[in-house]
Amino acid sequence: MRELLELLEHDSRRPVSDLAAMLNRSEYEVEKQLKELEKSKIILSYNTLINWEKFGDDTVTAIIEINLTPQREVGFDAIAERIYRFDEVRTVYLMSGSFDLLVIIEGKSLKDVANFVATRLSTIEGVTATRSHFMLKPYKKDGVIIHDEERDRRLVVSP
């Protein structure tokens, strides 16, 4: 199972026939495992990592540190939910250390994001402070190096 997941994490478009061959299992078995993994939400979705900047989009990404006052019974969860339900919010993590939530937001422009933080995030009850950091240049995302200059330098035939 782990190996199947690792293969998919790297490339989710691999045909089942290839996966089966690589894992030394039947296609039927692999299909069945995939269904199970999807059903149990171990596989959450099959995404494609896209370099939108290269495509021509000028989106702005901001990392927001948020401090919260925890609420009775639900702790941070209820506020986190209020935040992660926004479409603009791409990622939300509960953190240890000097702030509580790390939120990654994508917007069309700097103003767009600043506006969202000011009117939607800081106004949520229990949010005591926010600090925004705008992302300038991505180097590596989800294990993928964005501008990988390493290429195959080997001779075509060697002993």
């Binding site: 061959a21 390493e150 195959d152 001779l155 075509v156 035939v157 060697s158």
Partner: protein, 395 residues
């Protein structure tokens, strides 16, 4: 201008004239000029050396590690090698007397031969095998004696087959498992039989185990010198080229008894002096912290191995399941071509480069060597092209 008529060839050493240039580079020029060629002809990892290894070398350079080292190699590196063999195989190599760090297994092989061969000594070499074995033997004044391995036996070698080629001149047995080009491995049982044979005939065994870490399918690599009584009569060769994706660093080593190691060191000190210090620093990092990266690469080769084996089997080419290195050696006689023509026509028609089996010894005829040290996408595409070729060009 004065006309010169010197026959330069006659001025070359007889040893050099006796060896043929490597058959492996035959298609290199054609392949190199093609745009969209997919090469299954490459005998080295497609991975770049893991970053932590590269980084340690850069750090070493920055701190000014640019000198010669001890002839035998940096003591820390030799200690680490000894430790690795003790832990992994239970060997008892002494870092001070039994280990020599060399410029790749290539150098180790050359000086091992030069250290132990007298003119006319015969070396038993199971074939198909790595292209350097015969040449190194000849250049060292020895006589290579080919012992064909059989496909029925998955290209493993048996004492009976060796015995057939034994003479009173036989001094050395040179084995290389996991094998380039076949991907064959030898089990403990197979090797124990070879060990008996070596003992019975008092042979030195040179064991090239450069692909040892690349062993798959639930099999464990068996180190020849870890077999009972074998450490003393074995010259074990290993290196970092394949397992750690470090071919360009040129770093390897030999493990042998103190007498042989001292003899090899003598040649090494006058001809090479020492292996590059930069590569030795990187190798040290590889042994100390590189295993996890190596394991990851091995797992990836294993998946490619199964994919390519599945592919060849499905297109109806007879081939046995390789258990080591990163080669598969399908039989192409059913297509009506010999290895050479198959490789040439395939390259021209479908732009897939591979190496004819005959480049690795006469008994490799009828096979081709495909390296799966290339990405899954390229392997898949190459399999489609080869299948096309077989459909459209069957003789």
């Amino acid at each position: 201008m004065k006309e010169t008529r010197t026959d330069w060839k006659s001025r070359l050493s007889p040893g050099v004239n006796a060896i043929a240039p490597s058959g492996i580079r035959k298609f290199f020029d054609i392949a190199a000029s093609m745009e969209d060629v997919i090469s299954l002809g490459v005998g080295e990892p497609d991975f770049v050396t893991p970053w932590s290894i590269r980084e340690s070398c850069v750090y070493g350079l920055e701190r000014g590690y640019t000198s010669y080292t001890a002839n035998r190699g940096m003591p820390e590196l030799r200690e680490e090698i000894a430790k690795y063999y003790a832990l992994r195989y239970g060997n008892t190599y002494d870092a001070a007397t039994d280990i020599l760090v060399t410029v790749g297994v290539s150098e180790a092989l050359d000086i091992a031969m030069r250290a132990v061969l007298s003119p006319g000594d015969e070396v038993l070499i199971p074939e198909p095998c790595y292209v350097s074995y015969q040449a190194c033997t000849t250049l060292a004044g020895g006589i290579p004696v080919a012992v064909p391995a059989k496909i029925e036996n998955e290209f493993r070698i048996t004492p009976a087959e060796l015995e057939e080629h034994l003479t009173d001149k036989t001094r050395v047995l040179l084995i290389g498992y996991p094998n380039n080009p076949t991907g064959a491995i030898m089990t403990r049982k197979d090797l124990l039989a070879i060990a008996d044979f070596a003992e019975k005939h008092d042979l030195i065994v040179i064991s090239d185990e450069i692909y040892g870490d690349l062993t798959y399918g639930g099999e464990e690599h068996v180190c020849f010198s870890s077999l009972p009584n074998m450490q003393e009569r074995t010259i074990l060769l290993n290196g970092f080229s394949k397992a750690y994706a470090m071919t360009g660093w040129r770093i390897g080593y030999s493990l042998a008894n103190p007498t042989i190691t001292a003899a090899m060191t003598k040649i090494h000190q006058y001809t090479m002096l020492c292996a590059p210090i930069t590569a030795q620093i990187a190798a040290l990092e590889a042994l100390r912290h590189g295993e996890k990266y190596m394991k990851k690469m091995v797992a990836e080769y294993d998946r490619r191995r199964r994919l390519i084996y599945d592919g060849f089997t499905k297109m109806g080419l007879e081939c046995f399941e390789p258990k080591g290195a990163f080669y598969i050696f399908p039989n192409i006689t059913s297509t009506g071509y010999n290895s050479n023509d198959f490789a040439e026509k395939l390259l021209q028609a479908e732009h897939v480069a591979l190496v004819p089996g005959s480049a690795f010894g006469a008994c490799g005829e009828g096979h081709v060597r495909c390296s799966y040290a290339t990405s899954i996408d390229k392997i898949s595409e190459a399999l489609v092209r080869i299948e096309n070729f077989i459909k459209n060009h069957r003789k």
